[in-house]
Symmetry: C2
Subunit: 280 residues, 2 copies
């Protein structure tokens, strides 16, 4: 099976490393940056690289699009006629509805696009930060669409497991976007708001424990990517911000009213939920 990775950034590069580790022999790379292609070749994660889709896509049995959400549509349109008939395409973008809604018009009928979302990443961008380790034990979401062949969905699922992902879960694109607004975009919004609410000029670093460190880790964020994700999924994200606000307001009110009972109830519930999460 010939695999072409499109975009050898931190995620595409990690796919390359994980594919190499898992023993896939025929992996190729497409990237607009020659320097990145040279690095990927030197790292031994691709057999051959190119910046021109037509050089590699016609040979690809599987194309993995590891590019920005808004670039996916453009890429598909531009290379509509370069994909190998009968081949499978998947992507890694974190919001699914806007893409899925547009797919019908973008692809030839004999190419099967199985949308995917490997839930693993790093704060940094670029191939220098690629790592096969980030995939180990992580969740992989697939959001199949009408017309996907079962064998092709299964192909991506098997691939994910062979790369070290722990669980592959199928979900509708709409449910995906709703879940991801809560589990991924909301935490990023909170981390950003937390660190941005610090008073400038304080030596905050000398007064922190693990909690502040943990909660702000993802405040170091690829703005270009995440502003796209936030805006593409803004309705779902606004909804979970509102639910979050209600819970924080509960704590705020309890503080105002010196209501220890409510605080205890909040903490008991959160502890129960966190323990249940670990047990899943």
């Amino acid at each position: 099976m010939n695999i072409v990775i499109v975009g050898l950034g931190v995620i595409g590069g990690s796919f390359g490393l994980a594919l190499k580790e898992a023993g896939y022999p025929s992996v190729f790379g497409l990237d607009c940056c020659q320097d990145t292609l040279d690095k990927a070749l030197a790292m031994g994660i691709i057999l051959e690289g190119s910046c021109r889709g037509e050089d590699l896509l016609p040979r690809a049995d599987l194309t993995i699009l590891a590019i920005y959400p808004q670039d996916v549509k453009r890429f598909l349109l531009e290379h509509r006629n370069h994909f190998k008939p009968g081949s499978v395409i998947t992507d890694v973008t974190g919001v699914k509805m806007p893409l899925v809604a547009a797919l019908d018009h973008l692809l030839p009928e004999d190419v099967d696009f199985v949308p995917g979302h490997p839930m693993a990443g790093r704060e940094k961008k670029g191939i220098d930060y690629a790592s096969a380790k980030v995939f180990k034990g992580a969740n992989y979401l697939l959001t199949p669409i009408p017309g996907n062949k079962e064998e092709n969905i299964q192909k991506i699922a098997d691939l994910a497991i062979s790369l070290g992902f722990q669980r592959v879960r199928r979900i509708t694109p709409a449910d995906h976007d709703e879940m991801i607004a809560f589990t991924s975009q909301l935490p990023h919004a909170l981390a950003v708001a937390l660190i941005n609410s610090d008073q400038p000029g304080r030596e905050t670093g000398q007064f922190i424990g693990d909690s502040y460190r943990d909660l702000t880790r993802i405040a170091n964020i690829n703005g270009e990517l995440w502003s796209e994700l936030f805006l593409e999924n803004r309705h779902a994200l606004l909804a979970v911000i509102e639910s979050f606000d209600q819970e924080l307001e509960k704590i705020r009110q309890a503080l105002l009213e010196e209501d220890q009972e409510t605080l205890l109830a909040c903490f008991k519930e959160s502890s129960r939920r966190r323990e249940a999460l670990d047990a899943q």
Copy 2:
């Protein structure tokens, strides 16, 4: 130097383990639970244990109070006459103003209370979760009060470094409580509100990456302790919740108005701050 640890829970027990590792020979333990004392003896972290203050406190050159904030005052009052003249007492509680304000009336003049706050802990409680490792590389805050002898402040600072803490920082009790509201209590409030805002019944664990895991770790919380800390420091905590709200509102407005520029500015600022934090 005879050291008495009061309260052999997760923090007191960790002090015991760290003192043992650092080679302090004469460490004693005071706890109301015989089972805990037996465990501490079996772990080799105390030479002798008792549930009666008068048995050990008269011999203590240094008393480390590792009990709940509200128990500190009661303990000092109860054992006012048991402390060794010229000895030093320190504590580990996370809010300083209410305690410091009460100290004058609680202690005999020939005992020096140097308030401290080791910024390290675990979600779990009890001696079974004690670990010397949590102190390694962590911050230790001291909030000296008028009347503290410099040599005694330095004694606690030296002890902290010998136990593996990376930095000891002196700060006023008022500034401490303001900083800690932001770096410790606010993150806990956010973690609790985040996980409590999940819709019950969803298999959330299958749709999470590291970010949700990181941001909810501290939602598993010792409610008894943290409800005390929250209420004792509620004015400072309410203030930082308000600053946080303003930053989250900025993101919310940007989503409503599809304003990518503001999102990019928020993310750029948060990334800059997070990188600066790592560099500190």
